[in-house]
Symmetry: D2
Subunit: 132 residues, 4 copies
């Protein structure tokens, strides 16, 4: 990933810790991909009915994480009044998805997805409370 | 647009006012497109420097609206604990973008974009406070 | 929708028929939303197993249409060498999704989705062959 | 990134080389992020006018790569007739963006972005010609 290298090449003087910011963006993007993959893996399970809520929350979490990563990585004229509630929404999406995936921990894809969502939830909290 | 017709074809018994929900989704999607168009139109202006913040907020607002419309339109196992903060984020994105566009009201695309963002902001508020 | 009004407000002299372009963008966006809704409605059906392929193709078609609409609506320095293959990809996504949905025409959401995908397929063909 | 681990946890028997597939998805996602960052960094440059085309192609490439990564990573009922033209579109988007960024190689973010786009172009070619 070239996220940090690109942040270092940004013409503006960014006042945030670039290493932590780059790492946060990558965690959020990883979560978007893992949620997309978990929805897809659930869809291939033989016993689909108990996974309907999981698929739905995976899709939501993937969409919210994708938007959050894009907004977070932009460093020209960042607007805290928008980034903070978006991080709150991302925290909520990750928490809902993690809670549901934890009910299906016998499925390896749900177990990994739960862990990745919990890590993303914590990362977004850290960005909101310590980085911004 | 077929948003309402599709909501009516949903197998679940949706407890929301479908006409208002369909209209809300379309307002949020219209805002996503108009913000994409405003960023693009700003980029074609001769005097670009004063529009940098506007372009950035247009891009953010487009991304947040796209995610919000997708989450809002899904009616299988909807999760209020995620939709509410996402609506808050969408309200914040629309407000920031509208405020900035209002500074450039001599440009027709910014004037339209400001109006559409204000309408979207109000729609998201109504969904959060009256529809859900 | 304000797509046409925004195209008319663009500072560049756009050589395309703006009414047809605006209409095309709206058809592609409608298709993105309808596919998102069809995946969601399928997920709520009691007999899920026969709909797995449909859900997958709905999700793909929604993602491809979302990207296509964004690229198509931008009129600053448009690049035909990118737009044409993207329209081809959108045509392929709509065709695959329509074919699958047509197998489930007893479900109203699949019937509508098939029609909207066919309309989008034709619209993208028209843009590629007649508008650009 | 957990892309490979999630592919290994997929219930279907995937006939592709999972390590190469996971790597390809991550290259395409990296390209999406780097293009988002290059557009943002260009926007912060003092001399904006020569970068207008670059910003536009960065935005297009980010959107196309985001859709491509999502479609590519899904392994339930994959449809080659859609993935192949989407890879073609991604190759075209990366090539256009790389060519433009190469004209601005004095800017470090454009230099990195050109390299990442060229790598993504080659990766998509390899997936299309050797992996699928």
């Amino acid at each position: 990933m070239h996220t940090l290298e690109m942040l270092e090449a940004h013409p503006r003087d960014i006042e945030l810790d670039l290493t932590r910011l780059a790492r946060a963006v990558e965690v959020v993007e990883d979560c978007a991909t893992v949620c997309t993959q978990c929805a897809d893996a659930c869809l291939a399970e033989a016993d689909l009915a108990p996974l309907v809520r999981c698929i739905r929350l995976d899709l939501d979490c993937a969409d919210v994480c994708t938007a959050t990563a894009r907004v977070l990585v932009r460093q020209t004229e960042p607007d805290d009044s928008l980034i903070r509630p978006l991080l709150d929404a991302c925290i909520a999406a990750c928490r809902s998805c993690a809670e549901e995936c934890e009910h299906h921990a016998h499925l390896r894809h749900c177990r990994i997805c739960a862990e990745v969502c919990r890590a993303c939830e914590q990362t977004c909290r850290d960005v909101r409370d310590k980085l911004l």
